[in-house]
């Protein structure tokens, strides 16, 4: 079944806190924050929900500038922010519960933030002693 198109509103980083406040005050629930890489640029998408309708906010991001955390507004955002920080290497400032890179510990740092998968796989040489 064909579902309706999803509209994504793109805003600037500086608008983020304000916009999220607006959503919060309108009684929206934070659904998720996701991140994707476009070439060298990243985009963060904040998804909110009210009455079963999803609304999306999108901001551009990169690995240098830190994004203000919305965990003061939606406490629950700390899981997503920590996750993105660990997987993409995008810094966040002011996360309520900051794991400082230990939320998801990976064998390669920021696996999603690097263009190529670096497979650090050793050959299975000495399997049995």
């Amino acid at each position: 079944m064909k579902q309706p198109e999803q509209k994504i509103e793109t805003i600037t980083v500086s608008d983020l806190i304000h916009q999220v406040h607006v959503y919060h005050d309108d009684g929206y629930r934070l659904v998720q924050i996701s991140c994707a890489q476009e070439g060298d640029a990243f985009e963060l998408t904040y998804t909110f929900d009210r009455d079963l309708i999803l609304s999306h906010l999108r901001i551009p991001a990169d690995q240098k500038t830190s994004i203000p955390s919305i965990s003061r507004i939606y406490l629950a955002s700390f899981v997503y922010e920590n996750e993105i920080a660990d997987l993409f290497g995008i810094p966040f400032s002011g996360i309520a519960v900051d794991y400082k890179g230990t939320f998801i510990r990976t064998s390669v740092p920021h696996p999603f933030g690097t263009p190529q998968i670096t497979t650090l796989k050793k050959k299975q040489e000495d399997q049995h002693e």
Binding site: D98, Y99, K100
Partner: protein, 637 residues
């Protein structure tokens, strides 16, 4: 019996000497020689009491009664002086009342003079004197080393050690006085001295808290003490002035003796820190540890239970006795329960003292021969094990600079010897073949047969209490032997005197466990026989055998330890799969390195100190008022 005089006066002499000696090594010599002499003399007194019947002794000095009276006035005067200075007007008031009562007593006594021997000694006195002499002496010697370190640690506090040791020996002297007095007026005099001494010792650190607690101790003991002159009045007013003799009073039987005995027992309750009076003993913990040891094990509180034990035969089957026993029972239960919620080692010891005294009081209160037998055994075992515990905790305190049980974790690797001794002490307090358990066994036997419904009530109380005691002792033991990371063994800083005293006390704990049948046969049973005309077999031979078997098992077990430590390969402890990055440390959430910390349970939601003590103080006051009511009604009738 010049020995009795010697035991009373000799410590007094030493006390006087110590008060003036300033040089430390001289003091040392005096204390040690004094303690040894007192100890030997007390043992001689014990030995005499084994063979002989009660001996009575009149002091061949004329008008000595007046001297005692003057002494009483001096004590009261001093108390009034200090209390006024510290604005403790309640204390002043009670002292004044006491003084007035005493004057009345003295007036009556002078007009109605009866000649009774002032001193006496029987098996109970012998046992008590041995406890006071040996354990008290050991504590004094221990204090030598302890106080030196104490002042090194607290440079801010005034170093008045000469006075301190003087008071310690004065205390011993007064205790001997109490246990050898036959004339109750004498007894009261010594009684007041101990009250005063305890006040002075508790305020020794001279901090605000210490002073406050010292006055609390003074107040409660004075309130209790005030009952004694009333008892005298009752005795004298009934006209039988020779009943002012302890022995005479007890043998006069419940009819005449019950009311004075009840009143004196109330004083005893206060002194032995039963609810509602118990808080002074807990407050007394601010004093240096040897003081606590002295107050808790051989003196002070023991004076309280001693006097109740003396009157126990009077209480047999009487309502007053039952109420006293109930106070003891409640105290046992409540104090044990509170001990669970304490992490300060000395407080745990304090509450457990209160609890054990409660048990003793309960045994005395029912007043049967069996009960008394259990009570006396309890007094003996408790004195030894408690002093051992206090002193070893004091030693540990100086080594690890904390009284907190939590900080003693893994002590077994740091100070194996001291830990062994604490373990022996604790085992002595609650584990099966050791002392207290024998007594608990005996008291259960005693209660179940006495005064039908109330005896069972006490049994139920003990049943609950023994579970509770097991909890807090066992968790302490566990803390001592739980080894996180083996620490460097380091016992060299402990002064030799302290160590040897601890050795002696641990040895005594075990010797007494083995020797209790002997004590029972040669001392307690003969004494009971004089008090009660017939005494049934108190503990059967087969049970003694079983206890010995257990004791042997417990004692030989440690020899297998080596075998087990050798045979196992070491593996890390189970931390849900998280490896220890170094011993006891694992990396937890957020990458934080966490050290494993395992404290005991204090269950303070259930065993909340405040709530339990409030409730039990309430019950205690109720029961005391009940006792006094009965006395007033009984006296009026």
């Amino acid at each position: 019996m010049e020995l009795l005089i010697f035991l009373i006066l000799f410590p007094l002499l030493i006390a006087g000497l110590l008060a003036v000696i300033q040089a430390e090594h001289v003091r040392r010599a005096v204390v040690i020689s004094g303690a040894v002499l007192v100890g030997i003399a007390s043992l001689v007194a014990l030995a005499f009491s084994v063979t002989s019947q009660a001996v009575f002794y009149s002091v061949p000095v004329n008008n000595i009664g007046i001297l005692v009276f003057i002494g009483d006035i001096l004590i009261s005067g001093y108390i009034i002086f200090v209390s006024l200075k510290a604005r403790q007007y309640v204390v002043t008031g009670i002292t004044v009342i006491q003084l007035i009562l005493l004057c009345a007593v003295e007036y009556l006594a002078l007009t109605n003079h009866a000649h009774i021997p002032e001193l006496f000694s029987d098996q109970l006195s012998g046992i008590m004197s041995a406890i006071i002499g040996v354990i008290g002496g050991l504590i004094c010697v221990y204090a030598l080393g302890y106080m030196r370190e104490y002042h090194a640690e607290h440079p801010d506090r005034p170093d008045t050690r000469p006075r301190f040791f003087g008071i310690m020996f004065l205390f011993l002297s007064a205790m001997f006085g109490i246990i050898f007095s036959n004339n109750l007026l004498w007894l009261f005099f010594f009684w007041e001295i101990t009250t005063l001494c305890s006040y002075l010792l508790i305020r020794y650190p001279n901090t605000d808290e210490a002073i406050k607690n010292a006055f609390r101790a003074l107040l409660f003991n004075l309130i209790g003490g005030a009952c004694i002159p009333i008892a005298f009045l009752v005795i004298l007013l009934t006209g039988e002035s020779e009943l002012i003799g302890l022995h005479e009073l007890v043998s006069a039987g419940p009819g005449l003796a019950l009311i004075p005995a009840g009143l004196i027992a109330v004083a005893g309750l206060a002194k032995s820190a039963q609810f509602p009076f118990s808080s002074w003993l807990v407050g007394a913990m601010v004093a240096p540890t040897p003081v606590s040891a002295l107050l808790h094990s051989s003196t002070m509180v023991k004076a309280g239970v001693y006097i109740i034990a003396r009157f126990a035969p009077v209480f047999e089957g009487e309502l007053i006795g039952i109420l006293i026993a109930l106070i003891g029972g409640i105290t046992f239960l409540a104090a044990s329960a509170i001990a669970i919620s304490q992490s300060n080692a000395k407080k745990v010891l304090a509450y457990s003292t209160i609890a054990n005294l409660g048990l003793i009081v309960a045994c005395c209160g029912v007043g049967t021969a069996e009960g008394l037998w259990a009570a006396i055994l309890l007094i003996i075992f408790h004195a030894i094990a408690k002093s051992l515990l206090f002193l070893s905790v004091g030693t540990v305190e100086h080594q690890i600079h904390s009284r907190n049980i939590e900080d003693m974790s893994g002590l077994v690797t740091k100070m194996p010897r001291i830990t062994m001794m604490i373990l022996i002490g604790i085992a002595g307090m609650f584990l099966a073949p050791f002392g207290m358990l024998i007594s608990k066994w005996a008291s259960l036997h005693a209660f179940v047969e006495s005064v039908p419904p109330f005896g069972i009530l006490l049994v139920i109380i003990i049943a609950y209490g023994s579970g509770i005691t097991a909890f807090f002792w066992a968790k302490w033991m566990g803390k001592l032997i739980a080894v996180g990371e083996p620490q460097q063994k380091d016992e060299s800083h402990i002064p030799g005197s302290e160590k040897s005293i601890l050795y002696i006390l641990s040895a005594l704990t075990i010797v007494v466990c083995f020797g209790f049948p002997v004590i029972s046969w040669y001392l307690i049973e003969p004494w009971l026989l004089t008090m009660y005309q017939s005494v049934t077999e108190l503990i059967s031979l087969s049970n003694i055998e079983i206890m010995f078997m257990m004791l042997f098992l417990v004692l030989i077990m440690p020899f297998s330890l080596a075998r087990f430590t050798r045979s196992a390969t070491r593996v890390p402890r189970y931390l849900c799969g998280i490896p220890e990055s170094e011993t006891m440390v694992f990396t937890g959430s957020c990458g934080i390195k966490r050290e494993i910390e395992l404290s005991n349970y204090y269950l303070d939601t259930i065993f909340c100190e405040k709530r339990i003590s409030r409730i039990s103080v309430g019950i205690g006051i109720f029961l005391i008022v009940l006792i006094l009511n009965i006395i007033i009604v009984g006296g009026g009738l």
